[in-house]
């Protein structure tokens, strides 16, 4: 995990519980969640029909897509119920002095954004 791959993703105090925010790493959209007091990061694009999970609803540790209410566990990315079946990619996250950082290298961001381009098509 290289140092330059850590990207600032916001201040922890700015997140209420069950808040979701989107950050961009190059072309890749990453969703940052505060769930039950803990922070998590996953790809933001739903694996089903190209909607952003950061527009969705977080209940406990489960994010629900705003478009069709497909559900994922934000801790593991696991797809929990139809119409989603493909899991989300999760990204390492750390807190330093109240600041949130997400670990995505430029190459990984480019590759993931490219891999997600076919979702919903």
């Amino acid at each position: 995990m290289s140092e330059e791959a850590w990207h600032f993703a916001g201040m922890a105090d700015d997140f209420d519980d069950e808040d979701i925010e989107q950050i961009k790493v190059g072309a890749l959209a990453v969703a940052v969640y505060r769930a039950k007091g803990e922070f998590y990061a996953t790809q933001d694009l739903c694996t089903h029909e190209r909607a952003y999970l950061s527009d969705g609803v977080l209940i406990d540790c489960v994010v629900e897509c705003p478009f069709h209410q497909g559900r994922f566990d934000v801790r593991t990315g696991k797809a929990l119920s139809p119409p989603v079946v493909v899991p989300l990619k999760t990204y390492p996250l750390k807190l330093v002095d109240g600041k949130i950082y997400v670990n995505v290298s430029s190459a990984e961001a480019e590759a993931d954004a490219k891999a997600q381009a076919h979702y919903g098509k």
Partner: protein, 334 residues
């Protein structure tokens, strides 16, 4: 399709913080509505019992049927996962209500997801009610539920046999087909058991208290399905392709606020009890609200129905232009 490719992204209408407020779920409100709905079914069932053998039996069965057919509303709400905050409660209720209402839960969930993606797009929206051109035959078949009662048994039997209608297979992932097949087998077994027990005891109770009233109540549900989209634009802009309709407090309660249908399409993750507030927030930016169900239905009959010859001419023209035409009646089930 992605939200960003829609003619208009409805999320622009509602600020993110307001969305978070309006999408909060509640077990208490969900349980109050569900218990209320089943209590109403119990009361109208008693009415059927008390009028048995009198001339009032048919009206009583009709009232009972309306309440039974309105189970479409909690079924639809649970399919979105918005009826309760607690997931298992939502899923348990979804399966129970679907069984009584007569709908296959996982299949409906996939079909309805596609309806929200391709609302009012002919040949893509599997819940498109009365795609144009509409003839009187189409309208009457839709209102009486003829298409539903003739299509659903075929579809569920196919699922139980491990297959699927060709017009449905494109939107269900192969990995989830076994779940749909098993659900169909369970439902057929459940309905078969009810029939067997009724035959064994020599009773018509399932017919008198469930199936016949359910059929008698169907037209009112069908009219609501028509009012939600028919006569609106056949395009992807949620501000023009969906209609909300004013309804009495009783009807709003029985339909779990689904007459606020435009608002539901703007924010499908909002629970039913948040829709009136959403209407107050953004209602003026959406399709003009229908005055009432009867007025909308009258408007649909006056403005949308054409002769069979005219319908054939329109379909031929569209096909010549290589436009999608829904001649398979994908809408038959919703």
């Amino acid at each position: 399709m992605k939200r960003q490719e829609m003619e208009f992204d409805p999320f622009q209408l509602v600020d993110k913080k307001v969305r978070k407020q309006l999408t909060r779920r509640s077990d208490a409100i969900g349980l109050a509505y569900l218990c209320g709905h089943f209590s109403a079914i119990g009361c109208t069932g008693v009415l059927v019992y008390l009028t048995y053998g009198t001339v009032l039996l048919l009206p009583a069965m009709f009232i009972h049927g309306i309440v039974l057919a309105c189970l479409f509303a909690p079924m639809h709400e649970c399919s979105h996962g918005t009826a309760f905050r607690t997931r298992w409660l939502n899923e348990f209720s979804y399966r129970l209500v679907s069984l009584v209402y007569i709908s296959q839960p996982t299949w409906y969930r996939y079909r309805h997801a596609v309806h929200h993606t391709y609302t009012q797009i002919q040949g893509k929206d599997p819940a498109m009610v009365l795609p144009s051109p509409t003839t009187w035959q189409h309208y009457i078949e839709q209102v009486v539920g003829w298409r539903f009662w003739t299509t659903f048994p075929v579809a569920i039997t196919k699922h139980a046999l491990g297959t699927m209608r060709p017009q449905d297979s494109w939107y269900v992932p192969k990995s989830d087909l076994p779940r749909i097949h098993n659900e169909a087998r369970f439902m057929i077994a459940a309905y078969g058991t009810v029939a067997a027990v009724a035959v064994y005891f020599g009773t018509f109770a399932p017919l008198i208290y469930w199936l016949l009233p359910r059929m008698m109540g169907e037209p009112l549900q069908r009219m609501w399905r028509i009012a939600e989209h028919k006569g609106c634009d056949e395009g992807t802009d949620v501000r023009t392709n969906t209609r909300s309709t004013k309804a009495s407090l009783l009807m709003r309660a029985l339909c779990w606020n689904m007459p606020f249908h435009s608002e539901h399409h703007v924010l499908p993750q909002a629970p039913f009890f948040a829709l009136p507030e959403l209407n107050r927030t953004i209602g003026d930016k959406l399709h003009p609200m229908g005055q009432n169900l009867w007025a909308v239905d009258r408007q649909v009959r006056r403005t949308c129905i054409v002769s069979r010859a005219e319908a054939d001419r329109v379909i031929a023209e569209r096909k010549a232009r290589h436009e999608r035409v829904d001649t398979d009646w994908l809408c038959a089930l919703d």
